[in-house]
């Protein structure tokens, strides 16, 4: 499935308490790009991602996904569009008491009749799809294990398998490796990269480490106080650009 094209136009999000999290942000992402979003905590990365799948309603501005203005969609239609936007979280956001398999299957709920949930019924084809996705992220043997029994890296791989169940054209990854150690970070990002390269899924990934951003991104977008301060290739980001995004006091920390 080819990746989606994303276009953000003059996006503004002001929270009820007056915080201007995203301020007149515009950029375009071509299908199949791996865009890394960098910026300090509170620079608007998470708000931007949640505006794209409308977990948060933007204050103004437009977001086009494959030329459909998703900010104008009514709730029920937005639900159908969300099915194609996978999301990966910093805290994995798995249901800890449920099994790994159930957690993966929840990624498919948007395609199934809601009433089936009352019976906890999943068709055999979906079970097979879930096992296939668990195999892709390398932990098929953990299917029956409770999600909270897994290590952080394994939990994030479950999160990725859940996103894959949606057959997404766009993956939003909100600091997917911020809770993981360096070695695990690479193994998780390699899976995201693989789906980007092999399946052509467009990826928008918030990262904190510049070394990871340079290693995985095909393009880097820098946010500062909700505004775009950098947009370019990974090779273009040097010390001066770095300080523009992260502030004068920042020192670059390397991750192996």
């Amino acid at each position: 499935m080819p990746g989606a094209a994303l276009r953000v136009e003059h996006l503004v999000k002001v929270y009820p308490d007056g915080t201007r999290a995203v301020n007149d942000l515009s950029f375009e992402v071509a299908p199949g790009e791996f865009v890394v979003v960098i910026g300090l905590s509170g620079s608007g990365k998470s708000t931007l991602m949640r505006c794209i799948n409308r977990l948060i309603d933007p204050t103004s501005g437009k977001i086009f996904l494959d030329d459909v203005d998703i900010t104008a969609l009514p709730r029920e239609q937005m639900r159908y569009h969300r099915r194609h936007i996978g999301m990966i979280f910093q805290q994995f956001n798995l249901v800890k008491r449920s099994s790994v398999l159930t957690n993966v299957l929840t990624g498919r709920l948007g395609y199934l009749p809601p009433a089936w949930a009352l019976l906890n019924y999943f068709p055999p084809a979906e079970l097979a799809r879930a096992m296939g996705n668990l195999t892709r992220v390398g932990i098929p043997e953990k299917a029956r294990v409770r999600a909270d029994q897994l290590s952080g890296g394994q939990q994030q791989r479950v999160g990725i398998a859940r996103a894959l169940m949606q057959e997404p054209t766009l993956i939003l990854a909100d600091e997917p490796v911020a809770s993981l150690d360096p070695a695990t970070s690479h193994s998780v990002l390699k899976y995201v990269e693989e789906f980007n390269k092999k399946d052509g899924v467009t990826v928008l990934c918030a990262l904190h480490f510049l070394s990871l951003a340079r290693r995985y991104g095909t393009r880097i977008v820098g946010l500062k106080a909700g505004e775009l301060v950098f947009d370019g290739l990974p090779t273009e980001i040097d010390a001066r650009r770095f300080k523009e995004v992260y502030g004068e006091e920042a020192v670059e920390v390397e991750i192996a």
């Binding site: 956001n93 798995l94 249901v95 929840t106 949930a117």
Partner: protein
């Protein structure tokens, strides 16, 4: 580093002794007044612990020998008529020569006089009692005896002061009874054990029904009492406040008081107790459930919403798995608590084992009371263990 390079230990600042501080003295004085008053109003009387030992002793002694097992008993009884009025002849009862029989001498006696009772054909070497009975069936124990090897006995009893009926009637005709009783056959559960057993089962089910009724009401109410779900608009907030106020008020009313209200409403018996426990448990469980709903992790809700799932699916797969295990744990714990409470509810007529326990205590039947006390102890301990095991598993 050399020894002399270490800094010299500094003297600690000397604080004032506590009794020199006015505030401390004031505090001590206030505490002394509070406890002196407390000692007075609670009428603490330590010597009573010693002087009262003779009253509590039979109860404590009987506590270690509860009435659980008993043999069947056999009875032999014989009676003979006597009179307190010369003008009235004593009654005669037919007796066969082989059955137990007694004779008294004299058969005409006056209150306070002595008469001799002789018995034959009783079971040898068995203890018995001599009873005095008037025309309306009031009996009174007037003596004891033990039969000899031939099954005979002789004893002297005093004519008791007993109701004779109106003057001119036949009330002066009275009876003397000799009564022998002995245990026979194998040990089997006593009558008390059977009654207590039945009532304990009633108690457990009383608690079960009360808890179940409470769960049915508390689950929907708990969603209305969860701040994270309700307090989003003024209407929701007022429903939330109302629900929580109801929980807090009902929780602070003792089930015992509710039981009194319900016994007046629906009459004495386990149904009143069930309703009392149910109403109290709705509030107690509702509060626990609501707090559990408030503390769920919003992460999975966000994640499953982001997959394009319907609201129903989000509740089923993100909310329910997070609340079901703690709900089960709370419910089992509540059942356990309710079993304990329902023993007390019986004291005010709400059914269950407490009702018979109170009767036994009032009738000074301490061995029977001990049976009930032990039964309650074992059942409560078993429920406690069972509920702890279940909670361990589900959490």
């Amino acid at each position: 580093m050399t020894q002399d390079a270490l800094p010299a230990p500094r003297a600690l600042p000397q604080g004032r002794a506590w009794y020199r501080s006015g505030r401390s003295l004031l505090l001590v004085a206030a505490l002394a007044i509070i406890y002196a008053y407390g000692w007075r109003v609670t009428k603490i009387d330590l010597p009573a612990l010693l002087t009262g030992t003779r009253f509590v002793k039979p109860f404590v002694v009987d506590l270690v020998r509860p009435d659980i097992l008993a043999r069947a008993t056999q009875i032999q009884e014989a009676r003979v008529g006597v009179t307190l009025d010369r003008a009235l002849a004593p009654e005669d009862f037919p007796v066969s020569s082989s059955s137990p029989q007694i004779e008294v001498s004299p058969r005409v006696a006056a209150t306070g006089g002595k008469i001799t009772v002789t018995g034959h054909n009783f079971r040898p070497r068995t203890s018995g009692v001599v009873l005095w009975s008037n025309q309306i069936g009031n009996t009174m124990q007037v003596g004891t005896f033990v039969t000899d090897g031939q099954g005979t006995f002789t004893t002297t009893v005093t004519v008791p002061e007993i109701f004779l009926g109106p003057a001119g009637g036949t009330g002066a005709r009275q009876q003397v009874l000799a009564h022998v009783e002995w245990a026979t056959g194998p040990l089997r559960p006593s009558k008390t054990a059977l009654i207590v057993g039945e009532k304990i089962v009633e108690t457990v089910f009383l608690a079960l029904m009360g808890t179940t009724l409470a769960v049915l009401l508390a689950v929907p109410l708990s969603f209305l009492g969860a701040r994270n779900l309700m307090a989003r608009n003024p209407v929701g907030t007022s429903i939330y406040v109302l629900t929580r106020t109801f929980f807090n008020i009902m929780r602070s009313v003792e089930p015992l008081i509710l039981a009194i209200v319900f016994t007046v409403w629906v009459g004495l018996g386990p149904f009143a107790g069930t309703l009392a426990l149910a109403l109290h448990s709705v509030a107690a469980l509702g509060k626990l459930y609501s707090e559990q709903i408030e503390s769920i992790d919003p992460g999975p809700i966000e994640a499953i919403t982001a997959t394009g799932a319907h609201a129903l699916q989000v509740v089923r797969y993100a909310v329910v798995p997070q609340i079901i295990p703690p709900f089960i744990a709370f419910t089992i714990y509540r059942w356990d608590t309710n079993v304990r409470m329902s023993t007390i509810i019986g004291f005010v007529g709400g059914g269950g084992v407490g009702f018979v326990l109170q009767q036994y205590i009032n009738l000074l039947q301490y061995r029977q009371a001990a049976t009930a006390v032990w039964a309650i102890t074992f059942v409560v301990a078993a429920m406690d263990y069972f509920s702890a095991k279940v909670r361990e598993r589900v959490i």
